[in-house]
């Protein structure tokens, strides 16, 4: 579904990704963990080509997104839903308009079809009563759930989450994680960058630890969390799992 080969990326002299390679199978939930600055977010952003890569290859369902441009690039991106740390809801649009905007203009659905789909998605994330609220009228957790619905409205093959709960107050984290768990259980292919180790332990099929732009260790969550092999993984986990 997603295939990354030998990915290299630098910002100036700072090497952020140093030869990353992995694959995500259909229906797999991959959780990427690592210290801040380890390159996890950049990795996600390279997967849907929000960041250009210096060398390496990224394939979405067999299509080379890293060398696509213009309409091709946009078309491949419709298959990759993205959820951002800071939600990035369109602030001039209501919740339901946020969800219908791309389906109407990109997928060319009629407004009725798009609204119908959007309402179903709002039900799914538990916010049907907020359809006509503007983002400024929603709590952080509600905004992130709308953002997830917005990404799902394009019916992507893969969903990517870039620290979706890092900007939330603690009492709102669970409502977002519940939506993500529900999504994972429905068979969605997911790439998640998160610091929520409880979520990683319970929902991930595979956990990948990244440090200094390299994959240090990966495996089933039970193995990574209970029996980390690499000293850097051990150090990271001992710091985070207090």
């Amino acid at each position: 579904m997603v295939k990354v080969e030998n990915l290299h990326k630098s910002f100036g002299s700072l090497k952020v990704l140093d030869g990353i390679a992995f694959e995500v199978a259909k229906g797999e939930v991959l959780v990427i963990i690592g210290a801040s600055g380890s390159g996890k977010s950049t990795l996600l952003r390279c997967v849907n080509a929000l960041e250009p890569v210096q060398s390496g290859e990224v394939y979405i369902n067999g299509e080379a997104i890293h060398k696509s441009k213009g309409r091709d690039l946009s078309r491949i991106r419709t298959e990759v839903g993205m959820v951002f740390q800071h939600f990035e809801l369109f602030s001039h649009k209501t919740a339901i308009e946020n969800i219908t905007l791309a389906p109407i203009h990109v997928r060319k659905l009629t407004r009725e079809q798009a609204n119908e789909r959007a309402m179903a998605l709002l039900e799914r994330v538990g916010l049907p009563e907020k359809a006509n609220a503007y983002p400024s009228e929603l709590s952080g957790g509600q905004r992130q759930r709308v953002a997830i619905a917005r990404a799902l409205a394009m019916e992507p093959m893969v969903m990517m989450f870039d620290e979706p709960t890092s900007a939330l107050d603690p009492e709102m984290i669970k409502e977002v994680l519940d939506v993500m768990t529900d999504l994972a259980n429905s068979g969605m292919t997911m790439l998640c960058v998160t610091h929520e180790m409880g979520f990683a332990r319970e929902v991930a099929r595979r956990v990948m630890f990244i440090d200094h732009g390299r994959i240090v260790e990966q495996g089933a969550p039970a193995d990574i969390f209970n029996n980390p092999q690499h000293p850097r993984t051990q150090a990271f986990l001992s710091q985070i799992l207090v």
């Binding site: 952003r45 849907n48 929000l50 213009g70 309409r71 946009s74 078309r75 991106r77 419709t78 990759v80 839903g81 993205m82 951002f84 800071h86 990035e88 809801l89 369109f90 602030s91 001039h92 905007l101 791309a102 203009h105 990109v106 997928r107 503007y134 983002p135 400024s136 009228e137 953002a147 917005r150 990404a151 394009m154």
Partner: protein, 224 residues
């Protein structure tokens, strides 16, 4: 100093005898400002977006336009446009004057639009792109609408300036508000009174615009 008769009722009386001239000038001022505003808005948005283009020939053209307009006097620009374009419309003053004013204000609108676009966080663009929108769609559907709302007060200020700047075209004999005052001065030899009156008319046109923008901002505050 005491000689102008600022409070002389007779002089005011004579000024107000020409009220119809002013009244006739109002729609002219509004029409030319409105036409220039339309040109300035379209041109300003296009040039503002071009300024931020990655293609250097687009940003280059826009930069030359903006800098040229901002670093030459409006009156000189109006002469250039008037003598350059008037022959095309065989003596019609309205079109070249509207273009001249519109070209001028458009450069300032372009800078406001550019600043507005830059004030929208990069994350909004990325969210739009990750939904599968093209760069153009992201700009038209996500970035510009937010930017335009944010810069509305600055734009309104620019449009009010445009209405005031339109007084310059009285130089070309176009019968708008200021030209009316000129005519009254010529007929009555009064200087002070006709121009005070015309200032009052400009205020009456411009001030409600400021109020309307404030009302719009209050009404849309919940969008945040």
């Amino acid at each position: 100093m005491g000689d102008i008769g600022a409070f002389d009722p007779l002089k005011w009386q004579r000024t107000f005898d020409y009220l119809p001239n002013y009244i006739q000038g109002i729609p002219m001022t509004i029409a030319i400002s409105g036409a220039a505003l339309l040109i300035a808005t379209l041109l300003g948005i296009v040039a503002g977006v071009m300024r931020l283009s990655k293609r250097s020939y687009l940003s280059g053209v826009a930069t030359v336009y903006v800098e040229f307009v901002r670093n030459t006097p409006l009156l000189v620009q109006l002469f250039v446009v008037y003598f350059g374009l008037a022959p095309l419309w065989s003596g019609n003053r309205f079109i070249p004057m509207a273009i001249g004013l519109g070209l001028f204000a458009g450069a300032y609108v372009a800078e406001i639009v550019r600043a507005g676009i830059q004030s929208i966080s990069k994350g909004q663009l990325e969210a739009a792109l990750s939904c599968g929108m093209t760069g153009t769609q992201a700009m038209m559907l996500v970035i510009l609408p937010q930017a335009l709302r944010r810069i509305l007060p600055a734009l309104a200020g620019q449009f009010i300036s445009l209405i005031k700047d339109s007084s310059l075209i009285s130089v070309f004999g176009y019968t708008e508000l200021t030209f009316a005052a000129k005519k009254v001065t010529a007929a009555t030899f009064l200087g002070f009174h006709p121009y005070v009156l015309v200032a009052g008319f400009y205020f009456v046109i411009c001030y409600p615009l400021s109020l309307a923008v404030r009302a719009f901002e209050r009404r849309t505050a919940r969008i945040g």
